[in-house]
Symmetry: C2
Subunit: 539 residues, 2 copies
Amino acid sequence: MSVIPNKKNAKTIKLKEVTSKIKEEFMSVNTAVKSIDIRNLKDYVNQEVVLKGWVSNRRSGKDLEFVVMRDGSGFCQAVVAAQNVSASQFESISKAGLETSLIITGTVIEDQRQIGGYEIQVSNVEIVAYAQEYPIAKKEHGVDFLMDKRHLWLRSKKQWATMQIRNTIIFSMHTFFQEHGFVQMDAPIFTGNACEGTTDLFETDFYGDPAYLSQSGQLYGEAMAMAMGKIYTFGPTFRAEKSKTRRHLSEFWMIEPEMAYYDNDMNMDLIEDFLRYLVGQVLEKNKAELEILERDTSKMEQVVNPFPRITYTEAVRILRGEQEVNGKTSIEVLETEMAELKQMISDNEAEISEKEEIIAKGGIKKGKMNFYKNKVETLKSENKAHAEVLGNIPQWLDSARNFSEGEDFGGSDETVLTKLFNAPVMVYNWPTPIKAFYMKEVDGDPNFVKGVDVLAPEGYGEIIGGAERETDIDVLKRKIVEHELPMEAFEWYLDLRRYGSVPHAGFGIGLERFVSWMTGIKHVRESIPFPRMYGRLLP
Amino acid sequence: MSVIPNKKNAKTIKLKEVTSKIKEEFMSVNTAVKSIDIRNLKDYVNQEVVLKGWVSNRRSGKDLEFVVMRDGSGFCQAVVAAQNVSASQFESISKAGLETSLIITGTVIEDQRQIGGYEIQVSNVEIVAYAQEYPIAKKEHGVDFLMDKRHLWLRSKKQWATMQIRNTIIFSMHTFFQEHGFVQMDAPIFTGNACEGTTDLFETDFYGDPAYLSQSGQLYGEAMAMAMGKIYTFGPTFRAEKSKTRRHLSEFWMIEPEMAYYDNDMNMDLIEDFLRYLVGQVLEKNKAELEILERDTSKMEQVVNPFPRITYTEAVRILRGEQEVNGKTSIEVLETEMAELKQMISDNEAEISEKEEIIAKGGIKKGKMNFYKNKVETLKSENKAHAEVLGNIPQWLDSARNFSEGEDFGGSDETVLTKLFNAPVMVYNWPTPIKAFYMKEVDGDPNFVKGVDVLAPEGYGEIIGGAERETDIDVLKRKIVEHELPMEAFEWYLDLRRYGSVPHAGFGIGLERFVSWMTGIKHVRESIPFPRMYGRLLP
């Protein structure tokens, strides 16, 4: 048995030749055999069903074809035995390359060894359309190649799993807010004022006037909260950043709740409930997808713990190693991690030597040989990852020890802080100069504002930024002047303080960063169907 | 008793003076009295509750203040009796103008005569912040003025009701698709190719390359359906149209489901289920809001009836009066409507004369006099509306009788067609030349394509456009050439036919048009929080 790649010389059957044949099959509602989605196989055990999808993989045995079929809702193995279908059908499936579209009829058999736990014993196969040789093979492709083929890459198992999780997250966000009495309101994309400078903004010509693509709906969110009490926006935002980083996209989706009569403590309560709900939904609904992504979910599961809430000032002391968390300083934690990594690397190296000796000696069965070879590969790749982290820690230690109070935290500082806790960390009360003009000053201490950043573990860093908003119109006006912003552009915003100002707060969460954390992917570009960033506008 | 407007000389209490006082009140979770939303009053009858909101209206009686309070979740009347609160509290409320923010404590009393069916007997009042004189009064304002004050106008009852219905629609759309196994996928906003010319497109500079803001996610939707089976997009789309019409926005939201292994009949089944579900949800969840909007829901309720499905060719015959519907031609229906309108106008005129005579004669009580005067106003305004429709019908008749086969339907043609049926009308199989290149040709008749337009009643016209997509790569290539489109820009799209092409279909629904229909508003600009159109970019 071997994986059979698409044959260049396989005849491509024109779709119009086959669509007429399959029409009744896929249309008929009254057909005796029910057409179902793969994800619902569990409800049809030992029943005959119709599945419509594509060949995700195929291998041949003697008088047998094993097709891994995908239909967008899931994956399953379909076994076509020559004795169960016509000769022409068996021939048609034995020519089917990757991504050939097909409709099968068969009986659902429970089989825990198979993908998803079920297998189809096929009684009928109809090829809908043979595919040309599929450009995405099992072998490793470069990311640029895969991004050029994004319209096809989305069919791959890991991309599919990522998009399923993204969907769970989106709908869970809506469900959470709707169940908590929030009203979804859309902030405008086109904004007439470049409130905070035009450097990062995308500009367009709006009937002769310049208009800018929104970077945040927050100011509008405040107006809408004054009308509806509790609102959330859910829309794309744009940032023209001429750099390629693993955390930035030019076009990304933001969710920004805003609540009247909320202070920052209530804001943090809400954030905690919200994140706990979202992570819980992903863990519950996407077990199969998380497995496909080989996601270690242990850190995600920590969201059941209370989220630590520390002030910026405490965070600085903790980062510098001046304050302990659970009896340990950040410096001790990092040094322990270094020692552990060194030990793991040396243990792995010993095992690699041992296994390589056995391989070199030879005289063992092929299966056993392959097992050892794979084991060596795995250990080497583990050590590569360990070495990378180990190489970073001295810089992290340096950055942490010498952190300058008043600055914003860097990526490594965020990573270090989250290592000390067993849940996402909320850092609140930030230095006024590094936060936006609209954040409310801490009572009696204008050097700090009531902002909150939420840091995700595992190096995913800031995933939420929020704040209680300034309600005093005089303070706002002073800060607009201090930030050198155009007062006139904010007159409508100041109106919110002129007509029934109330304490209010809100936060923003970037969808793609959150999807990246949940799926464990390293680069945010895989968290959105068609990413847009510096150097990437197509397809 | 009289409506008391805001007093220019009313002292505006600074928010910071009062926030400290109210802090414990609005923050405390452990307070003995529960802080609730107005929409939940029904669960707290005869209990003491705290409400946090704004003054929507206020009138004074002897030692009584009647405050209509709003909190974003609803409206209710709060009665402050001098004997039940301190003297200073009574004074503070008797100075409160529109939009003053306040927190009250009181007992919930069931009273069917009041807004929402409940009234609060207030035991404590805290003013959070007095409002400056509120610019939006009870009197009629011009739409431009109101649009300039959109950030405040959203607080008005009808705008609030519209946004609540919009929210119901959005969440119902998500719920419907999620329950039917669809995956939400976001199409990109930035597109690198101006596939169908640049005239209606907004352009921006994407790191040195031109990029265009999406007008539809459909082509991407097809790619995503091939990966996920059934998907829907939910995002903003953009159209640079230098004209002010009541049906167009420059920035509007589109929902575009796309389904693999669907033909146009299945597409129409889905559309029918979808619309029936959405309208049902609005009728069920937004009774109060529909009442505020004075919405006659009789036509909406017709969605329980099967949606007629007629071909374009039948629609043309029906429109021209060449084919009857339920025993009547379009011409007869319009002529009957004209006769009925004339009769109603003349009946009203008779009643107006009669009432005006009584008024002129005098000698009746003031209450009765006002009743007659109001009646006359109502009848005159009814007649104005009747006369407007009556004035339009001759043009409609003319347009219908002389409709040129092969053209697209105009707004009045759509209105006439829907008048003949008792549910939204689906028109399918359209002339090839007036539809997009990607629609699938009707089997054996390339003059028609498998498109479908759904026409809403009451003059709201086309609210959905959909189609089965062409699967034959050769036909697609020919049509791309015929439409003079750049082949290269469509290579990725053609890939979807090269690698496992399957029958597929989908549709698009414009959120704002649908919200307009449900709410009965005449101009689409009120269906979105912050509309963007020719001449409107602020606030």
